[in-house]
């Protein structure tokens, strides 16, 4: 028995009939074909599936698509605007915050949530905010620096505006 859901993803409205057991991450990946959100585990431990649901970082591998009915969702594909990279996307490149790239979308979405609430985080608060996201490649050091880079850049651009 399928159920209708209406969601807004990266600013576009969608309406689909979905099975009640369909996970939100599989809805995004297999139905909408937004494959930037990854599945690294099935216990919401790794954070590769982190997206924003109603503006809040959420691990969508343990959320059902039907639970997202009426929600506004942002995925990694919706983070940059008008072809301009988000400061975090730029920071991860500048500071070599990624290697294989698999954890990167989740890591960036989690960091974006942090910077919304804490625009000038300390190293400790960055590490604390990202402790739910596994990276097996970088050892996290350059990820921390990437987030610091983005925070600095956002501060500077705010000062200009």
């Amino acid at each position: 028995m399928s159920t209708r859901i209406n969601v807004t993803v990266n600013g576009l409205q969608y309406s689909h009939m979905v099975e009640p057991r369909l996970l939100l991450v599989n809805y995004l990946r297999d139905v909408l074909r937004l494959t930037g959100t990854h599945v690294g585990c099935d216990t919401s431990s790794c954070g590769a599936c982190t997206i924003h649901v109603n503006g809040k970082a959420t691990k969508c591998c343990t959320l059902l698509a039907v639970q997202a009915d009426g929600c506004e969702i942002t995925t990694i594909e919706g983070l940059s605007h008008n072809g301009e990279l988000h400061p975090l996307q730029e920071g991860f490149n500048e500071c070599h915050g990624l290697q294989c790239g698999f954890c990167t979308p989740g890591m960036i979405m989690m960091a974006a949530d942090l910077l919304q609430h804490n625009p000038q985080p300390t190293e400790e608060s960055i590490r604390h905010a990202l402790e739910g996201n596994f990276c097996r490649c970088t050892g996290y050091q350059n990820i921390v620096k990437s987030v610091q880079y983005a925070a600095e850049k956002m501060k500077m651009s705010e000062a200009v505006h």
Partner: protein, 793 residues
């Protein structure tokens, strides 16, 4: 040859944008027309006879297309082992079949009994649950040492004592015993190098299809070496013609060794795709990854290191039981032998060494290469022994190393260093990295702080690890003589397009290492062109002529060298074209900064014009073929031998046993460096995997062969808030035998780091009067607390 300064610069990675914007293309992202989905029925027991498999109910369920069991594959070969090791008496290793689906008995939890293929993954999952399997549970073996004892259950009925092989290397045992008898101090250590789960964050994924018109297969695979998978699958498993198989490894989300191997699912999905004439896809769930991706390490070892009165090592004797799991994975046999025993010289002048290894089957997940592969085990053994010896003899551990280091040699003026365990080191300056490490950590200050802490009832410790490894794998003739069933060269093609833009095709595979940047830096530097004018293509057997893939820190040393050979051919041909156009002799043409110039004149032609001329050969040498496109095979002359010094400073909480890593200093010498930013990133990641082994990780099996921590909720891996900022530095001792002078950086961090941490904890405990020899990794609070309170035997 020209240089525009790109080599040696921390160029930002060109591949990053697709990953940071969500446009990477991993295997699980691919859905093909007419896609079907596979789910496996797996054994829940570690060892069980398969009594009955009934698929009748499942077959009738919605969406089910096919179900295959072991009986359907009776005539299909198993996946092969790529390296033959012989018993000490010369007999060939025991190499039981590793079937795609088991028909007789399951030999580890997760062994595949049936594959269910349906229109959707949910339908396949539902049907898999409806497959009725009757299993008769059998007694099992888990521990390598126990498995070889009389009366132990047999994993394979035809492998006595569960022994795949026994093996020895080095000086005759009698000579080693004699030297050990003369030692004034012998440090003995019995320890476990625990089993680790590699845990690349992208689970393994395969999608295989068959086109009945062209009779061609395409396999998308999350593999570190697509060509090798094609070779093994075609020639050894399925017997299908290689030219009718395309293997593609698109973006791959980390490997760390676990994605080198040819897994049963790759061949099985490919076989199924032909039976069904439809593409079949399977992506491992994390719980399956824990049970199926080849694990690493798992050695039980007794080692003795003897010293004379001056603190010089006089002998080393090692006995190891290596757990290989239930089947021989692709490179499993060479890891505890040729990648472990051969490294036991370490950085020291030890004159007598003997290593003896017994490789054992158990009812556990197969064990194979995991980042470092054998070399971390060797380093852990040596570096634990020497730090412990220093404590026992009341000598400074840095000083003890200085007394034993092999003196510096560059491999050019001074010859390479011949070890007692088969290898010849290429070049090294071992005291250099330790000196630098001591400066960086400010050693006297750390020792002073340690004394002060002890005075205040706190436990601070400093631990060292000075490591060497053998990578840049490997000279084909050498590994062939040791039993490797493949060559280990690499292929690099450089295709200059008519407009002077360059496409590079490499048999190396990047799954995080940044080849698209590093290799482009080399080509752009040497040809004097812009980085953006070079594209690096890898991972597709239809594009890249051949390749042996990425593992053993070999991409730059072997793959990069193959590209260098092609660049040299490009320049040589370019000179001939330029000479013709400039009406000079080719011998008088020099190439620098992207220009071909007649020596001593200002007459020159740019690289772009030469490229165009090669493809529009109107004014052209008569005896020269058109085109500017060369492919080269590079087979290295020797392994490369990176080395370094890692130093950890820890604090141990007396009340709880909790270890806090305060500082971590790493000085690594990986030869010449193309991109320092990328090398540093490799060191960071490697170091953290070593820290993971020391402090957090370890696969735990119960006596029934059940992996009791097979999920991210239970298996502890380092997270961002577990770690300090690392202090890293590099020393450069170029490799003398490859054109780039590079050694390799992928595994160094992991090889060096774990013993530094454990040594630091032991040092901390000794500073408080707890004279503990060993604590089993990972050093959890409980284990450290128990050690301090003498609650372990």
């Amino acid at each position: 040859m020209s240089t525009n300064g790109l080599i040696g610069r921390s160029v930002k990675r060109v591949e990053d944008k697709r990953f940071t914007t969500g446009h990477g293309n991993y295997t699980d992202d691919i859905i093909l027309p007419q896609q079907t989905y596979a789910v496996f029925v797996r054994s829940q027991y570690a060892h069980a006879r398969i009594v009955r498999v009934d698929t009748s109910v499942a077959r009738a369920m919605p969406g089910v297309i096919a179900i295959f069991t072991g009986a359907d594959l009776a005539n299909v070969n198993g996946v092969p082992c790529g390296w033959q090791v012989n018993f000490k008496n010369g007999d060939t290793m025991k190499e039981p079949k590793h079937p795609l689906l088991v028909a007789d008995k399951a030999r580890h939890v997760g062994d595949a009994i049936a594959i269910v293929i349906a229109e959707s993954k949910d339908q396949a999952t539902d049907a898999a649950e409806a497959v009725e399997v009757e299993l008769e549970e059998l007694p099992c073996v888990v521990d390598a040492y126990k498995a070889v004892q009389p009366g132990a259950a047999l994993v394979h009925d035809d492998v006595p004592n569960n022994k795949s092989f026994d093996w020895a290397l080095g000086n005759p045992l009698e000579e080693v015993k004699e030297a050990m008898d003369k030692a004034t101090h012998v440090t003995t250590l019995e320890f476990v190098n625990q089993r680790l789960v590699p845990n690349a964050i992208e689970p393994r994924s395969y999608n295989s299809s068959y086109d009945p018109v062209s009779e061609k297969y395409t396999l998308y695979t999350s593999s570190q070496n697509p060509h090798l998978i094609r070779l093994l699958m075609c020639a050894f498993v399925l017997g299908i013609p290689e030219h009718k198989v395309r293997v593609v490894s698109p973006d791959v989300g980390g490997g760390f060794g676990s994605k080198i191997f040819h897994y049963t699912e790759e061949a099985l999905l490919t076989w199924c795709s032909k039976q069904l004439n439809r593409p079949v896809k399977w992506t491992s769930e994390r719980s399956e990854s824990f049970l199926l991706d080849a694990h690493g390490r798992d050695h039980v070892t007794k080692a003795e290191m003897g010293f004379d009165e001056e603190g010089k090592i006089v002998a080393l004797r090692v006995k190891t039981y290596a757990n290989l799991g239930a089947y021989l994975s692709t490179f499993s046999s060479c890891i505890p032998t040729y990648l472990h025993g051969t490294l036991l010289q370490g950085l020291y002048t030890t004159p007598k060494i003997n290593v003896d290894v017994t490789a054992v089957f158990t009812n556990t997940t197969p064990v194979d290469a995991y980042r470092g592969a054998g070399r971390p085990e060797a380093t852990y053994l040596l570096e634990r022994l020497i730090d412990l010896a220093a404590l026992e003899m009341d000598v400074d551990p840095a000083d003890l190393r200085f007394r034993n280091f092999i003196p510096p040699f560059d491999g050019v003026q001074q010859p390479g260093y011949q070890t007692q365990v088969a290898l010849q080191y290429d070049s090294g300056n071992y005291e250099g990295v330790l000196k630098k490490g001591l400066e960086m950590v400010n050693y006297p200050e750390v020792r002073r702080a340690q004394q002060e802490a002890a005075h205040n009832g706190k436990l601070v410790g400093i631990g060292f690890s000075t490591y060497i490894e053998a990578c840049g794998i490997a000279p084909s003739a050498v590994v062939g003589s040791l039993g490797c069933r493949a060559g280990l060269f690499e292929v690099g093609q450089v295709r200059v397009q008519p407009t002077g833009k360059v496409s590079v095709y490499t048999g190396s595979h990047s799954h995080g290492q940044g080849h698209e940047t590093t290799f482009a830096q080399i080509v752009a530097d040497k040809l004097g062109i812009n980085l953006t004018d070079v594209e690096v293509v890898h991972g597709d057997s239809d594009s890249v002529a051949f390749g042996m893939g990425t593992y053993g820190s070999r991409s730059l040393a072997v793959g990069g060298s193959a590209i260098m050979k092609s660049i040299e051919k490009i320049i040589e041909k370019g000179k001939k074209i330029a000479a013709h156009k400039l009406e000079a002799s080719a011998d008088d043409i020099e190439f620098a900064s992207g220009k071909f110039t007649v020596k001593g004149t200002d007459r020159s032609i740019g690289f772009g014009e030469i490229a165009l001329t090669a493809y529009v050969p109107h004014v052209y040498p008569k005896d020269l073929e058109p085109g500017l496109d060369f492919s080269s095979f590079y087979d290295p002359a020797n392994f490369t031998y990176p080395f370094g010094c890692h130093i950890a400073v820890v604090e141990v909480d007396k009340e709880t046993g909790k270890v806090s890593l305060k500082r971590f200093v790493a000085v690594d010498d990986v030869g010449n460096v193309i991109n320092p930013m990328i090398v540093e990133g490799q060191i960071h990641g490697g170091v953290v995997q070593g820290i993971g082994q020391a402090l957090f990780e370890g696969a735990e099996y119960d006596e029934n062969g059940q992996l009791t921590n097979g999920s991210y909720m239970d298996y502890c891996m380092p997270r961002a808030d577990d770690l300090p900022m690392f202090e890293t530095a590099s020393q450069v001792t170029p490799c003398p035998h490859n054109p780039l002078g590079v050694k390799g950086a992928g595994e160094a961090g992991t090889i060096g780091s774990a013993p530094a941490i454990v040594n630091a904890v032991i040092d901390a405990l000794w500073s408080g009067g707890h004279k503990v020899k060993d604590i089993r990794m990972p050093l959890t609070s409980e284990r450290v607390w128990r050690a301090m309170n003498e609650l372990i035997s």
